[in-house]
Amino acid sequence: MENESIIEVKNLTKTFNKFTAVNDISFNVKKGEIFGLLGPNGAGKSTTLRMLSTLARPTKGTAKIGGYDIVEKDTEVRKLIGIVSEKMIMYNRLTARENLSFFGNLFNIPKNVLDKRIDELLELVKLTQWKNSQVGTFSTGMRQRMNVIRALLNMPQVLFLDEPTLGLDPQSSVEIRDFIKKLNQENGTTIIITTHMMVEADLLCDRIGIMDHAKIVALDTSTNLKRLISGSDTTILKLEIGNLSPVIIEAIRACKCTDAVSQENLTHLRIIAHGDEAFDSVIDAVRAKNGNINSMENLQPTLEDVFLHITGHEVRDNANEKMPMEMGHGRFGGSPQGRTR
């Protein structure tokens, strides 16, 4: 069951008049996976998500979710999925409870089951005490938590998240990411997430599809994508240790993962190591000799480097073409629709 594909996408294409938003993409998503679509604004991520969540009809190609065709069996697909859209799906003049109850009823969930589930979900995101307040009075972070649990009312097997941390402060972003991780681990929910933030994709996703100009240009795990550049699993670390001593350096050298250690000055070390555990092993070694780590820098190739390597341009390039939209959403807008009405 582990490797069974829950989403199968074949040659999916979407054109608006003459503009091709999504151009002949194919991929599979395994059950229980967190799958990320990474790319600049306007790359076609959201359109892909809208097609998969039955909100837009593909121009060409097919996709199946849980074995159901997204066009032919859209109602069946809808029962399996939840969507957290970039725009917050909730009514400002309704209370948190009323909002959840309204959307829950559209899924034909029996009243007693629904009431219980709403209470659980509100508790899960710590909104219980606000359940009878109108969501128009909520902060952006609270609204986004509402937005996420709304998508979970029907206990979806597949959850689509379109830029779920866009416009959130760092703390709220972390909360949302933790929640997504937890959901995936505890309920085995398959998660498809779009983001233009490299760090987010790196932190969350099992596999990442990099999208650029309506195409998927690379698809693999974060580590494998980075190997495209370095060709190995080499990690480059820069450590600043206040009480640096020969004993500590020796201890680091002794680690299995360490390839080389060089002292740059009185307090700084540059360490070349390999393997996924490199980080932890080095830190453990320093700590074992009572070393005080003042700062640490990871010089591992980033996804940003990968994107640059594959597409030949930086993520910002595309974003700049769509500057007005970017500004409206991310920079100044806070939440896409804010609290205005």
Binding site: S53, T54, L55, A56, R57, T75, E76, R78, K79, I81, G82, I83, S85, E86, K87, M88, I89, M90, Y91, R93, L94, E98, F102, F103, N105, L106, F107, N108, Q134, R150, P336, Q337
Partner: protein, 399 residues
């Protein structure tokens, strides 16, 4: 998916819309104020048809030179005029010395017209000739001058009749008062309506405004409500639920209909309570007609919803359609007064039939048999528009 689930989802959506509406205080106040303004505005600005003009400033110039020493004819006329005016207070009479002074005063705008008794008035009357009176009118304001002319003609007419009656009785003492009237005015006109009472302009416009408000409210409310949800993104929330697309449009329609009917009821209460409109027909039939009016309009609203990309476009499209409809459907002005080509347009507007039927029921106390034509037209229009709208809407939903 059964009809029951479809309906249940629709009701949920309608309930949600109404909850939002009732929590919007300002919106609610406007919902009540709009029909009130409409009624007050339309009801008081347009002339009410009858002789409601009072205290029109008019000057009287008596230039009568008399016959011998007597000015009996002009004295009698002035007395009679004052007597009649005391009863109707149609005119606010002032005195002027000459016809020229009256013309001057009219030019200055102090008075709106004048009556001149020429210097040969008594002489003519006593010589057995017709006594001529001159009315001076303000040509810069045709409507007021027409009113004054009508008012004065009525006064003169009444005085002439009285005088003629006296003359007949003087000539032949055997004739009593009733007979003398029959001799002077052989025909008497009596107006009788279908229902007792004299309807005011409010009675004419109240049904029209009701029909218009309810239907417009649905026609404008629907595209705005849906395109607004499209814009803020909440429509997606409904679209990803495994519900029939029709329940979205049906729910929205129900919500807007309820809102429209609420406004209709407000107008009804205002008309009856504040403007003394009488409802002579069945109130149930009134509501049934309002609902039918909504049904005939919904399709049009849905089509516009489907084509309008955002709220602004939807609103503009509605305004463009609304204005001609308001003035061409006989809500404010009788259709019969329009030129034939305009009458032709008004005959294809469902609002025309809705307001006509509503007027028949409310003012004339008509029942279903008397309004079958209107009912048929509304139903046919509704069915055709819905048949066009539903597939168009489905296509829009799966763009």
């Amino acid at each position: 998916m059964g009809a029951k689930t479809l309906l249940s989802h629709s009701l949920r959506i309608a309930w949600k819309d109404l909850t939002e509406l009732f929590r919007n205080r300002l919106g609610l106040v406007l919902l009540i104020l709009m029909p009130l303004f409409m009624m007050v505005m339309v009801g008081f600005i347009y002339p009410s048809g009858g002789s409601t003009a009072t205290n029109l400033p008019v000057a009287l110039a008596n230039e009568d030179a008399g016959f011998g020493n007597s000015t009996i004819a002009s004295q009698t006329f002035i007395m009679g005029l004052q007597q009649i005016n005391a009863g109707t207070s149609m005119l606010a009479l002032s005195n002027a010395s000459t016809a020229n002074e009256i013309k001057n005063l009219v030019q200055k705008g102090d008075i709106q017209g004048g009556i001149v008794i020429p210097n040969n008035f008594t002489a003519s009357v006593l010589n057995g000739e017709q006594g001529t009176l001159i009315i001076i009118t303000d040509q810069s304001n045709p409507q007021v001058s027409a009113t004054i002319q009508a008012a004065l003609s009525a006064v003169f007419n009444q005085m002439g009749t009285m005088l003629a009656q006296q003359n007949v009785q003087t000539l032949s003492p055997a004739v009593n008062e009733n007979n003398s009237l029959a001799i002077v005015k052989p025909y008497n006109i009596q107006t009788e309506g279908v229902v007792p009472g004299t309807p005011s302009y409010f009675d004419f416009i109240a049904p029209g405004i009701m029909a218009m408000t309810v239907m417009m409210s649905v026609m404008t409310g629907l595209p705005v409500a849906i395109s607004q949800e499209k814009e803020i993104g909440t429509l997606d929330g409904m679209m990803v639920a495994p519900i029939n697309r029709l329940s979205i449009i049906l729910g929205k329609t129900l919500g807007q209909t309820a809102r429209g009917l609420l406004q209709g009821v407000i107008i009804l209460i205002l008309s009856v309570g504040l403007f003394g409109v009488a409802i002579n027909g069945s109130i149930l039939l009134v509501f049934a007609l309002l609902l039918l009016g909504v049904f005939s309009f919904v399709g049009l609203g849905i089509v516009i919803t489907s084509f309008a990309k955002d709220q602004e476009t939807a609103q503009m499209a509605m305004m463009t359609l609304m204005f001609p409809m308001m003035f061409l459907s006989g809500v404010f002005f009788p259709i019969q007064q329009m030129p034939w080509y305009m009458q032709g347009i008004s005959k294809v507007l469902p609002l025309t039939y809705a307001s006509q039927a509503l007027r028949k029921v409310m003012v004339l106390g008509a029942g279903i048999p008397e309004i079958t034509t209107e009912l048929t037209v509304l139903i046919v229009f509704g069915v055709i528009m819905t048949a066009i709208a539903v597939p168009v809407f489905r296509r829009m939903m799966t763009r």
